[in-house]
């Protein structure tokens, strides 16, 4: 019953180098995730950027629209070409005017593995238990509109 960690696994029907570039290339990552960065991902370095609507899903893009321009910050942890990419970030850091820099970050890891028919991608995010509680509660309260819309979308998605 861990409340600290999430793990996701998926097999993508694409070659490993394509998936790797989609994740480890800051430009490509931004395109599908919905962010724009001020430079490339470099291990051990901090990278700033901002939220921009994703180019691959119109519905999600609409939801991201109100947050356009909102600053994001990643601390790149590991780059093991073709196999492993990891960074730290502040989850839910979308409340305006709040300085998240002193708070603990979660660690997001993308692990790639070649399998028959494509690439197995395992995404883990851990460290939620260390995030200050007040922040978590606020993240929900302050983003009521965004979250409700998001929750609705998720419900729709899950009901498919």
């Amino acid at each position: 019953m861990s409340t600290d960690r999430i793990e996701k696994q998926v097999v993508l029907k694409a070659p490993q180098d394509r998936v790797w570039n989609a994740i480890a290339d800051a430009k490509q990552f931004g395109a599908w995730f919905g962010m724009e960065f001020d430079g490339p991902f470099v291990a051990g370095e901090k990278l700033t950027g901002r939220i921009v609507p994703t180019t691959v899903d119109r519905e999600i893009a609409k939801l991201q629209e109100p947050y356009t321009g909102h600053p994001v910050e990643l601390q790149v942890d590991t780059i093991e070409p073709m196999r492993r990419f990891a960074f730290r970030w502040h989850p839910f850091a979308i409340e305006r005017g709040v300085d998240y820099s002193a708070e603990p970050m979660t660690l997001v890891t993308f692990a790639l593995e070649e399998v028959a028919g494509g690439t197995r991608l395992t995404i883990t995010e851990s460290g939620f238990d260390a995030i200050p509680l007040a922040r978590r509660a606020k993240a929900f309260a302050a983003n009521d509109g965004g979250w409700t819309a998001q929750a609705d979308l998720i419900a729709k998605y899950l009901a498919r």
Partner: protein, 113 residues
């Protein structure tokens, strides 16, 4: 239905505070696995004093994660399942956001540009 889900997440906040401590997580894990227990049993074999465990149990009780029932001269502590479900639901939401992100990544890598 929308408002209800938001309220649920906000209401889950004290749960995370209560679980954001290693000793308390251990107590919860122990109650989950071994079932209802007295304080004597909960302290058994650990390095934490009975007094400290009691303090943690009270914090967990305030967060609605555990409850106690009197059995003769001692109190038996047990898990309040519903609150744990709330905490899990919070994680489910983050999890669902990753599911969405994965679908966007799929759209990005599985189509020809």
């Amino acid at each position: 239905m929308r408002q209800r889900s938001i309220d649920q997440f906000v209401a889950a906040a004290p749960v995370f505070a209560a679980l954001g401590d290693e000793t308390r997580l251990r107590i919860v894990a122990r109650l989950c696995m071994a079932g209802p227990q007295s304080i004597v049993k909960l302290t058994d074999g650990g390095e934490v004093t009975r007094q400290a465990v009691t303090k943690h149990l009270i914090a967990l009780e305030e967060a609605g994660l555990v409850r106690s029932v009197r059995a003769g001269r001692e109190r038996i502590w047990e898990i309040e399942q519903r609150r744990l479900d709330d905490a899990k639901r919070y994680l489910d939401l983050i999890s669902a956001r990753w599911d969405e992100a994965i679908e966007r990544l799929r759209a990005h890598v599985e189509t020809d540009d």
